[in-house]
Amino acid sequence: DAMVIQNPRYQVTQFGKPVTLSCSQTLNHNVMYWYQQKSSQAPKLLFHYYDKDFNNEADTPDNFQSRRPNTSFCFLDIRSPGLGDAAMYLCATSRAPGAGGYEQYFGPGTRLTVT
């Protein structure tokens, strides 16, 4: 089945120690998104890639970066995690809106704990 895969499902990192979360997709979608979801809150978009074009949300902290080396993979890098960055990180994909791609397909998420 075509899907969005996130690894690892659970990640523990130390305060200030860089961490990378991974997302891959077999849907061949043009667009990949990263959302942050804190406990009991709605997901919040951090940034997205349309093909190789990176689009950052205005209020996303500089501490968060992303890479998309190819169509299938996208990474979320947190350069110096703080306690406030503990959250569920959700990856999603969609086709380009011009191709009717408004719905997004989500992976299972990575739960990040910062100690």
Binding site: N30, V31, Y33, A42, L45, H48, A92, A96, P97, F106
Partner: protein
């Protein structure tokens, strides 16, 4: 700016009873609306979507939603709730941005099902 309001933070229903979850949106143009469901520790699963056309849309797991432009609402309904429906439900509106689309979510409604 677009926004989504889910007035009910928690709802408890008995198994077999009907369900309606409320969603109101604020968006200047024709909205692209979604309902997603999230089980604990999991990603988001798309239940249904509205883009245009018939204002009553059918989704998976027996859910339906009705788009009412005059009331700026997109309420989710199910005639008979099953215990497995206990989860968090998010209403969302999509807006085009940077070659992709941004989902703005409501704060979610936590559904509890009593046996």
């Amino acid at each position: 700016a677009q926004s989504v309001t889910q007035p009910d933070i928690h709802i408890t229903v008995s198994e077999g009873a009907s369900l309606e979850l409320r969603c109101n949106y604020s968006y200047g143009a024709t909205p692209y609306l979604f309902w997603y469901v999230q089980s604990p520790g999991q990603g988001l699963q798309l239940l249904l979507k509205y883009f245009s056309g018939d204002t009553l849309v059918q989704g998976i797991k027996g859910f339906e939603a009705e788009f009412k432009r005059s009331q700026s609402s997109f309420n989710l309904r199910k005639p008979s709730v099953h215990w497995s429906d206990a989860a968090e439900y998010f209403c969302a509106v999509a807006t085009l941005t940077g070659g992709g689309n941004k989902l703005t979510f409501g704060t979610g409604t936590q559904l509890k099902v009593e046996l």
